[in-house]
């Protein structure tokens, strides 16, 4: 992975930068010691490591604004960071840039149950929001699997999902307002407690922009009332095709489950060995279908889905009769990643999305690739929304295996695009999938996206080297090659 060449002149100015930054963020908020900086050298994508030049941990929006303005004026690169749980290297530091850590922005500022929203600082964890409102029976819906650790600011940057996306939406569908700081220090407030911000939907644009457009300093999230009840079915199938058919049949019956998760044979075995959830071991695919909502509805739909499962030839079927049993169904799925970690020295987690009906084809091709690369693969799949997480098994201590795993991963993602899907469903492009972007987008598409970036950050100081495979200067992108001509289509119908 090629990162932009570090600017040695900037690196040599470290002492001066630290002094100036300490004038803005006093005390311990500026970290310059090389040992201490090692904490920030990578995020959840641990294959890449690079300590930053300096880490800055501001506590107020005003400090963020002054830090950014200083960096803007001096041409210093900035990598924003939440909890550092990104799986795509979105918070990978730069040798000649600062890390702007938002961890001290950890307060819940206001909860408004009447308007069903909460105003929080970006360093609050995803689960922390739910914890703050659950006494009143409310929760924050998006639930990425890292929700204990990941921050809401990071969720905004990555547009994080979770297992309940199909019914409850992604981060972008659960936000009402943001306070952001642009690279020149301008503080902007977008939206509020009302629906649909005025003007262009900058809230929607910011969400999923991977820290390239601005730094989020406050978030207003929607809260939902907890569903009255939830029940799940655990269903085993002798083929992934059969499991896929049930997923289609459930949707055709007009049912949108709260969650619908699939695991393939290697993932089932790894999970069962690890947590003993009682999963059947003689099946090729396991489906967990969770229905949530009013009790009357859930009981009714459980029966419907159960009937459909029989019709589609489920070889094992269990229906949760208690909260404890439901949690047990989920235990294996929730532990799938660490479970796979037990059977392989290392694993590489991928994140493509495909049209659901392409699953059998994609799994078949993946098995072929697995043989070709001589690396195992286990699959967990958000069957409701088509988001696939292949876990490629490798051993980093074996010469060349990391490279093989990465090549395997790239092949899988190209396959996702080929069948009508996308490179990343919820982990983000970051550095990891940056060089695959041209497989999904044309040069014109990518340049248009970069022009949007130029509207926010014309000097490309915010998180450079991420998302876009090629950096263009904004002036060059703005140029238009035009030739004046005749009115087009003289034959075109006009009215």
């Amino acid at each position: 992975m090629l990162m932009p060449e570090p600017d040695q002149a900037m690196i040599s100015r470290k002492r001066e930068l630290v002094m100036k930054l300490r004038e803005i963020v006093p005390g311990e908020g500026v970290i310059a010691d090389e040992d201490e900086l090692r904490v920030y050298e990578s995020d959840g994508l641990t294959a890449y490591k690079q300590p930053p030049l300096i880490a800055v941990l501001p506590e107020t929006t005003e400090q963020v604004s002054r830090v950014l303005k200083y960096c803007h004026d001096e041409g210093i690169k900035v990598v924003p960071r939440g909890a550092g749980t990104s799986l795509s290297g979105g918070a990978l530091p730069l040798a000649d840039g600062i890390i702007l850590g938002l961890g001290k922005f950890n307060r819940i500022l206001a909860v408004d149950f009447d308007n069903r929203c909460a105003v929080v600082q970006p360093g609050v964890t995803n689960l922390g929001i739910t914890k703050a409102v659950e006494d009143e029976g409310f929760y924050y819906a998006p639930d990425p699997s890292s929700q204990i650790a990941c921050t809401i600011g990071g969720n905004v940057a990555e547009n994080s999902g979770g297992v309940h996306c199909l019914k409850y939406g992604l981060t972008t569908n659960n936000l009402l307002g943001l306070e952001i700081v642009l690279i020149d220090g301008t503080v902007l407030r977008i939206g509020g407690k009302h629906l649909d911000a005025e003007g262009y939907d900058l809230l929607g644009l910011m969400t999923g922009s991977e820290g390239l457009l601005g730094v989020v300093t406050e978030v207003t999230v929607r809260l939902l009332k907890k569903p009255e009840t939830a029940r799940a079915l655990l269903l085993g199938f002798s083929s992934s095709e059969a499991a896929g058919e049930l997923v289609a049949a459930i949707i055709a019956a007009g049912i949108v489950p709260g969650g619908m998760e699939m695991m393939d044979r290697p993932a089932i075995h790894a999970a069962e060995d690890f947590v003993h959830a009682g999963y059947p071991l003689d099946v090729e695919a396991l489906l967990i279908v969770e229905l949530d909502g009013p009790k009357a509805e859930v009981d009714h739909l459980i029966e419907t889905v159960s009937g459909l499962a029989d019709a589609k030839g489920a070889v094992t079927k269990r229906v949760s009769e208690s909260e404890e049993e439901r949690m047990r169904f989920w235990a294996g799925r929730k532990a799938a990643f660490p479970a796979v970690g037990r059977i392989s020295p290392d694993y590489y987690c991928m994140d493509g999305t495909i049209p659901r009906n392409q699953l059998p084809h994609v799994l078949r091709r993946m098995r072929e690739m697995s043989e070709h690369y001589e690396l195992g693969v286990a699959n967990v799949f958000h069957a409701g929304d088509g988001n696939l997480h292949p876990l490629i098994l490798y051993d980093a201590n074996k010469e060349g295996e990391l490279q093989k795993a990465e090549d395997f991963g790239s092949d899988i993602l190209r396959l996702c695009v080929e069948v009508g899907g996308v490179l990343t469903g919820e982990h983000g492009v970051g550095v990891e999938k940056r060089d695959l972007m041209p497989d999904m987008f044309s040069d014109i598409d990518l340049k248009q996206q970069q022009r949007v970036k130029c509207a926010f950050d014309p000097d490309a100081l915010l998180n450079p080297g991420k998302v876009f495979p090629q950096l263009h200067r904004c002036a060059e992108l703005g140029r238009m090659h035009i030739s004046r001509g005749q009115l087009p289509f003289p034959e075109l119908p006009r009215f």
């Binding site: 649909d196 900058l202 009332k225 035009i482 289509f489 075109l492 009215f495």
Partner: protein
């Protein structure tokens, strides 16, 4: 208004926009023109009519996805979805009756491209989001004359910037959309509404807030003051009483259960009643399409009321109206209004004349936060009063830069939303 181009391929759209960019000639971008009078009046010599770009290009009900050319009539989209018992969960409003006095026998007016470009949403907005939340992918021609695409056909996608959101509600000021992909969902099996009679504004908002804060998955909550309620022909409504309506949708047994629970929980506040299936659907169409303020004839006349659409924090809906009435003083009696979105959306009609009243609509908003859009008015009033909520300076500057990133010469619907955008 001069020449109107009506291309039937994306290549032709690109050629027309490239020509306009080269000439720095502004063009009006139109879908089917049903909302052409929404926005600041613009003067353009040429218009780009996308109504010949029609047809559903992909519809996979099992995959919950539909793609269509941008000019495809909403009537066609909704008919195709209805055949599979599916729908657009954001419940797009048809502004035909409101803006043009058009009848709805032939189904909704407007195009899919128009619906997303105006980011429309109906009563289900409070539960399921607006057009922006269901807009998965796009293809279009930027103001640079370049064909580009963004997004995809799957729900979960963070590959690149979400340019769909940016185009939702951009009123054609960035690009001419040629292809739109949206998420579709199974339509609910049953719909039913709990009605509460005789509440005043503040009581209604309290009841709606309570219903929305329950676990009964309420999909809409609206309040019609007595004068507005009377205009809805239903024998179920008692005379001269306001109506607060709470909608639940879903499988039959669940809907029965939740309606009963809601009536039980909201009891004591007022007399209650239930509206079933057909009656319930027509009540929500009446609210969604702003039928109380529909134009009686095709043309906006001196006697027509101007209509505002106001978004506030839902629990503050009644407070806003009270503040507005206070500031209007004696003129308060000339204001007609009703609430949707549990109080978060206020439709307001008031006489066109007297600019001060219209300025009051916006100034009364300040303490609550939110925005007001002058949806219907004479061109004259739309020239004098900002149609869209004026933007904070920083946001305005950024919006102008975003506009230029797509449309450097400012040729796409220039000024339709804001001067310079």
């Amino acid at each position: 208004m001069g020449d109107r181009f009506k291309p039937d391929s994306i290549e032709q759209v690109a050629e027309i926009v490239s020509w306009a960019a080269a000439e720095t000639t502004p063009i009006e971008v139109l879908g089917r023109g049903s909302k052409a009078v929404l926005g600041r009046p613009t003067q353009t010599e040429y218009s780009l009519d996308l109504s010949a770009l029609t047809g559903i290009t992909l519809y996979e009900p099992d995959e919950l996805v539909l793609s269509a050319r941008a000019g495809t009539p909403m009537a066609e989209i909704e008919a195709a979805l209805a055949e599979e018992n599916q729908y657009l969960a954001f419940e797009p409003a048809d502004y035909g009756p409101l803006l043009k006095g058009s009848a709805q026998e032939m189904g909704p007016s407007g195009s899919l491209g128009g619906v997303v470009s105006c980011n429309l949403a109906g009563p289900r907005r409070i539960k399921s989001g607006a057009a922006r939340d269901h807009f998965l992918g796009l293809k279009g021609v930027s103001g640079r004359g370049e064909v580009f695409q963004a997004g995809g056909r799957v729900v979960k996608n963070v590959t690149g910037y979400d340019l769909m959101k940016l185009h939702a509600g951009a009123y054609g000021t960035l690009s001419a959309l040629t292809d739109v992909t949206v998420k579709v969902l199974p339509a609910p099996e049953k719909t039913r509404s709990v009605l509460l009679f005789g509440l005043d504004d503040a009581e209604a908002v309290i009841a709606m807030t309570q219903a929305m804060g329950s676990s009964h998955e309420v999909s809409a909550a609206a309040y019609l003051p007595a004068a507005i309620a009377q205009e809805f022909a239903s024998s179920r409504f008692p005379d001269a009483q306001s109506v607060t309506a709470i909608r639940v949708e879903g499988p039959g047994p669940s809907v029965n259960h939740r309606c009963a629970a809601l009536r039980n929980e909201l009891t004591g506040q007022a007399e209650t009643e239930e509206l079933h299936s057909h009656n319930s659907l027509s009540l929500w169409a009446f609210i969604r399409d702003v039928i109380p303020f529909a134009l009686p004839s095709q043309d906006f006349s001196a006697e027509s009321d101007a209509v505002w659409r106001i978004s506030v924090p839902p629990a503050q809906g009644a407070d806003y109206v009270a503040a507005l009435k206070t500031s209007l003083g004696e003129d308060a009696a000339t204001v007609r209004y009703f609430f949707d979105w549990s109080g978060g959306l206020i439709w307001l009609a008031l006489p066109e004349k007297d600019e001060a009243r219209h300025e009051a609509v916006r100034s009364a908003l300040a303490p609550f936060g939110g925005h007001a859009t002058l949806i219907r008015a004479s061109a004259d009033l739309r020239n004098r009063i900002a149609v869209f909520q004026p933007l904070d300076l920083g946001i305005a500057a950024l919006s102008s830069r975003v506009k230029k990133s797509f449309d450097p010469h400012g040729i796409m619907n220039p000024g339709r939303m804001y001067a310079g955008v």
